[in-house]
Subunit: 131 residues, 2 copies
DNA sequence: AATAAAAGTAGTAATCATTACTGGTTTATC
DNA sequence: GATAAACCAGTAATGATTACTACTTTTATT
């Protein structure tokens, strides 16, 4: 059986599960407030971190200085649009090897690797061309 | 001929060039203060960004919430130690293709890609084993 | 050189994301 | 139903970064 979540945590998690973009704590806060109007931003942060620690969601970093969250914890990568700031999933063809095994002369222990892309998303690209 | 840098900018850049780790603005500030004791932290940030915009240095992100800077602008990747927080260069065997060309069903425009590794550096690993 | 314009600076205040704290409330346990 | 543990709202604090302001240095122009 699964860990019992508080009402707040449950709403936070299901809000996140319902979205394919990768909202920030602030966006999640705004969304969850529609359901629990007096929830506190600190509660959102605390529960997001707790869910990350439990492995139920993941925190993603695309170099924009803000943490994004993703209910999909399966291995995949992200794209960050430098125009609108949106973050989307990208799938990559399976590589014939693990990137961390391609390192040269490295003596430490690699535990995780992060790969993300940046540029202009298709929506912004279309917008640019229509002007 | 190259762009004329102010004294402050020159010292910041040469401080960075002299190091193989990847200091944060704060560390650079401390180092540069040994040469220009009354330099301001804002000046450090402003000039670092300016040098980034000129392409003379690069800003690197390893997911620790702080910007690191690197005088080496050639293509390479980084490793971040979750124990001591140090950031070091890693070299990777040349891939037989460009990662961004491996994306599936992606309609946007990829301009940059970031790949970094995280784990335990060799120094921390040695320390752990000696305890 | 004298001077006007531009670029740059130190110092400080403000911002933004995130974390910590505090006192009260809910939930689980005996 | 008492007692302890988990959790919360609200607020304060923190840390990195950026913005602002008034002053100084550099550059260009006469």
């Amino acid at each position: 059986m699964s860990y019992k979540h508080s009402k707040q945590r449950e709403v936070i998690q299901s809000f996140l599960t319902g979205r394919k973009d990768h909202p920030t704590a602030d966006t999640i806060y705004a969304g969850v407030r529609e359901v629990i109007p007096n929830i506190s931003l600190g509660t959102v942060y605390r529960n997001l971190q707790l869910l990350v620690d439990l492995g139920e969601i993941q925190k993603i970093n695309v170099g924009d200085g803000v943490d994004h969250f993703d209910a999909d914890v399966s291995m995949h990568h992200h794209f960050h649009c430098r125009i609108c700031g949106c973050v989307s999933d990208v799938r990559i063809k399976a590589l014939p090897f693990d990137l961390k095994d391609q390192l040269i002369d490295f003596d430490g222990e690699v535990e995780t690797q992060t790969l993300y892309f940046e540029g202009v998303c298709s929506a912004c690209k279309a917008l640019k061309q229509s002007v």
